[in-house]
């Protein structure tokens, strides 16, 4: 592997979540030349320079601003982008990792020369295809979110073919920023007591626990116990004003006062960050600062929780949580699942000053690095794993066994990722539905295999039967959520078949239907108590 391009056109948090994967590439491919692409709006995010050889800035804002004043100038912007692509070099990249799940990135992957791609791409026939097993898994998991079991950071590493190393995110913070923040805190009389940083904002309304509630939670921390600083951007000051109306204790407002390198320097000095799911959260994670993450709306802890050891996540225990991808919420009732007193208690617990709270309508999870190096969030309240958690662990076992998931067994060797007894709570109907799905997938596998060797006249009939069988599998997944992610993976994979040759298409259909069958069989066996299967996994 000589040349690798990493396309990361997302926001601050996503960029930081790319750093462990970059570290893994450095470790496993020390001779490779790594190009990292960020878009110009986030060009100042301080990704440590030892993680890449070249930083290429995609002129997103520049193109957009030109078009906003001169729409007719689009040919010039096409030329600008063509030059940008040319500047990446004519020699194909050995590996193109597309970490951006947008059409824009898909079109870029259609024209950036590469030998192998992991991620989404727009094919020449203008359809979207996804290449590589782990991004296929990621796209499929969006259709079956509740069964998601891998943190996005680990998915990135697996997609790059590197093992997670049990280490966190990285940021390069200049000494001057640390110095300035030390002075900033000192000038405000902060530093004697533990410092709690609070982020009131989030990128969208449903991810934002109300500022007034957060203020009530802060009121529960005595000024003698800890100092509180509100962090965030200038445009979040209106949230601070809402909080101030409720606050009964002093807080210091740092919103809009910190640059992209000063925010981490400030968070480094905090004992704890209390936050919604935000970029700030990932900054704190990169700084090794412990986090209490309040997950509401469409935030899904098992995908995007802070990447690291010991962080806490408080989330609602509700059937509709997390919101399904693409859904719209009108009631925000999950915000009521935990109360300010619960947050106060969890903050005090995280600081080592109180017991773990036991909110009746919520779940508390804590992150750990587990054997093999990945991060896993496990419920610590309620203490006993429920059916959803058992299914998640079973699904993780299945995916880790059937997709290439490099692991370093020496990392966190003593932390078992599957500590719970998985069997015993599923009804016979669920297990039967799972087995029936597997059997149907085997049928499709047989039909597709037969199709390869069949004469043309029979191929048409077999082809129709394969299509019928695949439709039946998708229908079965609608009826039984347990197999949803397996069916979704199959669909994404088959929709991404770029070849048109009947033999090769049939081979892919046979292989992938067989893989779906195997996953469903493994899942059913694990949940039925087949410990042999579990050990095999």
């Amino acid at each position: 592997m000589k040349r690798i391009l990493v396309l990361q056109l997302c926001r601050l948090g996503d960029i930081l979540q790319t750093t462990p994967m970059l570290r893994g590439i450095r470790r496993e491919h020390p001779g490779a030349h790594v190009t990292l692409v960020l878009h110009d709006v986030f060009r100042n995010v301080p990704v440590p320079s030892h993680l890449y050889d070249r930083l290429s800035i995609f002129p997103y804002g520049q193109v957009a601003q030109t078009l906003s004043t001169a729409r007719h100038d689009w040919p010039l912007e096409v030329s600008r982008l063509r030059e940008w692509v040319r500047d990446l070099g004519a020699e194909p990249f050995d590996l193109l990792l597309n970490l951006t799940h947008s059409d824009l990135a898909g079109f870029l992957c259609a024209i950036i020369p590469h030998r192998r791609l992991s991620g989404g791409r727009i094919a020449a026939d203008r359809t979207r295809i996804v290449e590589g097993p782990w991004f296929t898994y990621f796209w499929a998991s969006q259709a079956a979110r509740s069964q998601g079991c891998f943190n996005l950071v680990d998915v990135h590493s697996y997609a790059a073919g590197v093992a997670p190393d049990g280490q966190g995110l990285e940021m390069a913070v200049p000494a001057a920023s640390h110095q300035r923040m030390a002075e900033w805190l000192s000038s405000r009389g902060l530093g004697e007591r533990p410092l709690i940083a609070v982020q009131l904002g989030a990128s969208e309304e449903r991810k934002r626990w109300p500022a007034e509630q957060m203020a009530r939670a802060i009121n529960g921390i005595a000024p003698t116990e800890a100092d509180v600083v509100l962090v965030g951007a200038k445009d979040e000051l209106q949230l601070a004003a809402r909080a101030q109306a409720v606050l009964t204790r002093p807080v210091t407002v740092a919103m809009g006062e910190t640059s992209i390198t000063e925010l981490p320097a400030l968070l480094k000095r905090a004992a704890l960050l209390v936050t919604n799911d935000t970029g700030t959260m990932h900054v704190a994670s990169a700084m090794g600062t412990r986090i209490v993450d309040l997950s509401t709306g469409n935030v899904f802890v098992h995908e995007t929780a802070p990447y690291g050891e010991g962080h806490f996540v408080l989330e609602p225990s509700m059937a509709c949580f997390p919101c399904a991808a693409g859904s719209t919420c009108h009631h925000f009732s999950c915000r009521e699942a935990f109360q300010p007193a619960d947050v106060t208690a969890l903050v005090r617990h995280a600081l080592g000053r109180g017991p773990l709270p036991t909110p009746p309508g919520a779940t508390i999870l804590q992150g750990r690095f587990v054997r093999g190096g990945r991060v896993q969030y496990r419920p610590i309240w309620p203490a006993r794993a429920g059916v959803v958690e058992r299914r998640r662990q079973a699904a993780a076992l299945v995916w880790a066994a059937t997709l290439p998931a490099p692991e370093d067994p020496t990392v966190a060797a003593d932390v078992d990722p599957y500590p719970d007894r998985l069997a015993g709570e599923e009804t016979p109907e669920v297990l039967e539905a799972c087995a029936a799905f597997a059997a149907r997938a085997r049928d499709v596998q047989r039909l597709a295999s037969a199709l390869r060797a069949a004469p043309p006249a029979r191929q048409a009939r077999l082809g129709a039967q394969v299509e019928d069988g695949l439709r039946a599998l998708q229908m079965a997944a609608h009826m039984e959520p347990l197999v949803q992610s397996i069916a979704a993976y199959l669909k994404v994979r088959l929709d991404s078949v770029a070849v048109r040759d009947v033999d090769r298409v049939a081979a892919v259909y046979a292989r992938e239907s067989g893989a779906a069958a195997e996953r469903a069989e493994r899942l059913a066996a694990l949940l039925a108590g087949d410990y042999a299967m579990r050990r095999a996994g």
């Binding site: 709006v41 001169a70 729409r71 007719h72 040919p75 912007e77 870029l108």
Partner: protein
């Protein structure tokens, strides 16, 4: 032969009147070495200095062969010769958008020798000499990407060079951007707005920098309790800040032209900054150069300077350093200045024999006193003359444009008296025509206007009645009050002329034609349909089964544009 030529000339005059005028002037073809011979098949062939401009064997067949090899898209024919190639291209269904003949005598000879009426009635034929006007040339280029040359007719002429350069002539791929700048306050504010509206009727992207939104601050500064000199300095600095803001807006928007109206807050430094940014500047000074004299300081700094006074003022502008002084009279806006039907109530308010609407300059006050015995209405504020008090309507307040068009409609005679504060009679320097002249005309109303030097060029005597003294005015009033049909006919002709020749749109198009780079001027004036990005993508999707790199890049640009607002 003569009859054939006249028929050809008639057809030519329809499609290309300027070329027809050139041809009419040609008296002696032989002196120019142009003669007509016959081919083997008996077809007429134009010869130049004894050299045949089409083959002597079978010119029609040769032309058909050449036409068959011509590109399919719109094309211009370089070199008419005897006309066979252009005719063959037309007959083959090619979209011939123009023919350019380098020698007018050759065209004239062909018109004498052959029936070219179908060609001349279908395709404009240009003489190369007319295409020194770059806008005219680039109009041809914008309409046709290909040029097909008739080598014998082109050889040894400047047209041969044009054939080589044709593909490289600039064609606009975007709309030009024109920033119109108005004053902070004052009479030219409405002119600025009307000009911006007029520019926006072209294909140029238009923005108005409306400095009047800063007027309150400007006036407040003028009311500060500080010495006069300090107030003026502060107001000057305020205007200077606006000047810098205009430059910034022009730079950020990447304007091609900044078109400023009189009293626009642009100083010499701002104009030089625009020059450094390669943004053209034009100034329409819609004021009397003798009343407002600041033009002297600005003249060297504008690329184009338009005044409403022809003659001596243009010379003075050149002396002051103006690079391109031009005469551009005032105008009307037919969307605003239009005939209106008055209701009964409006007729009661506005109906009268004679009216005057405007500000009470000294010469107007004195002149109107001399008419105070007539059935008269005066509209406007500031009319304190005791002798006129009984004539003042509308409670002596300012009137808006909607009231103004009703005043015009309600008056049998609208008196239009150019202002002067330094004399008691008619303006002794009548070298410009005020906007009111055009506005009343566009409203289809009848006016009597004091005689102005440039008026005969703008309106014919049967379109506009002018007076040279108060005595003459009184006589005209008496006559026209007694002859309503004459009034109506004159007013109708004045309106037709105003709408045809004296609209802000015409003026704006003139400025864009002059001041924009020629290829952008063509784009602005001819309404070229620019292909938007979604249109281009739709075209690709319907014509190509597979996406290529160009399409992918275009789709990326579209994605960026779509997603930017949703960040």
């Amino acid at each position: 032969m003569r009859e054939l030529f006249e028929r050809n000339l008639g057809a030519l005059a329809e499609r290309a009147p300027d070329t027809a005028a050139i041809i009419r002037e040609i008296k002696d073809l032989e002196a120019a070495g142009v003669t007509v011979a016959r081919s083997a098949a008996g077809d007429p062939i134009v010869e130049l200095g004894g050299r045949a401009l089409d083959t002597r064997r079978d010119p029609k067949a040769a032309a058909e062969r050449a036409a068959a090899a011509a590109p399919a898209g719109p094309l211009v024919v370089a070199g008419l010769g005897s006309g066979y190639l252009a005719e063959a291209l037309l007959a083959s269904g090619r979209a011939v958008t123009a023919v350019i003949e380098p020698r007018a005598e050759v065209l004239a000879a062909a018109m004498h020798a052959r029936d070219l009426t179908r060609l001349l009635a279908t395709v404009p034929v240009w003489c190369l000499s007319s295409l020194v006007d770059r806008v005219a040339l680039l109009r041809l280029r914008a309409a046709a990407a290909d040029m097909v040359a008739h080598p014998p007719a082109v050889q040894g002429t400047a047209l041969a060079g044009l054939v080589d350069q044709w593909a490289d002539l600039p064609v606009a791929r975007r709309a030009p951007r024109v920033l119109v700048v108005g004053p902070i306050y004052g009479g030219s504010l409405e002119t600025a707005r009307a000009t911006a509206r007029a520019v926006s009727t072209t294909s140029a992207e238009t923005r108005l920098f409306d400095a009047s939104v800063f007027a309150a601050g400007h006036h407040e500064m003028g009311a500060l309790a500080v010495p006069d000199t300090e107030r003026r300095r502060l107001q000057g600095e305020h205007a200077a800040v606006l000047g810098r803001a205009i430059v910034e807006v022009a730079r950020e928007w990447r304007a091609d032209l900044v078109l400023a109206l009189a009293q626009a807050p642009l100083g010499a430094d701002d104009l030089e900054a625009l020059r450094r940014l390669h943004i053209a500047s034009a100034f329409w000074f819609v004021e009397n150069e003798r009343v407002l004299t600041y033009w002297r300081h600005l003249a060297p700094h504008y690329d184009w300077f338009y005044g409403i006074q022809p003659g001596r003022f243009l010379e003075r502008l050149a002396e002051a350093g103006a690079a391109r002084p031009r005469y551009l009279p005032m105008a009307c806006d037919p969307a605003v200045h239009r005939p209106v039907e008055l209701t009964a109530a409006e007729r009661a308010t506005y109906g009268c024999a004679i009216s005057f609407a405007g500000a009470p300059y000294l010469n107007r006050r004195r002149t109107l006193v001399a008419l105070a015995d007539l059935d008269f209405k005066i509209w406007g504020d500031g009319w304190n003359e005791p002798a006129l008090a009984h004539l003042v309507c509308g409670e002596g307040r300012r009137f808006d444009v909607e009231a103004m068009v009703r005043i015009f409609a309600g008056s049998a005679i609208n008196l239009n008296l150019h202002s002067a504060n330094h004399v008691t009679g008619l303006d002794p320097d009548p070298d410009f025509v005020n906007p009111r002249t055009f506005e009343i005309a566009a409203c289809g109303a009848f006016q009597l206007v004091d005689r102005r030097t440039p008026l005969p060029e703008l309106f014919a005597p049967d379109e506009m009645v002018a007076f040279g003294s108060v005595a003459e005015l009184r006589a005209q009033i008496a006559h026209y009050l007694a002859h309503p049909d004459e009034r109506a006919a004159i007013a109708a002709r004045a309106r037709a002329r105003a709408i045809a020749d004296h609209t802000y749109e015409r003026r704006a198009r003139q400025i864009l034609r002059d001041a924009l780079p020629a290829h952008l001027a063509v784009a602005a004036l001819d309404g070229i349909e620019f292909e938007t990005l979604p249109m281009a993508l739709e075209r690709l999707e319907t014509t190509r089964a597979m996406m290529d790199e160009d399409e992918a890049l275009m789709r990326i640009v579209l994605e960026v544009e779509k997603n930017w607002g949703m960040r």
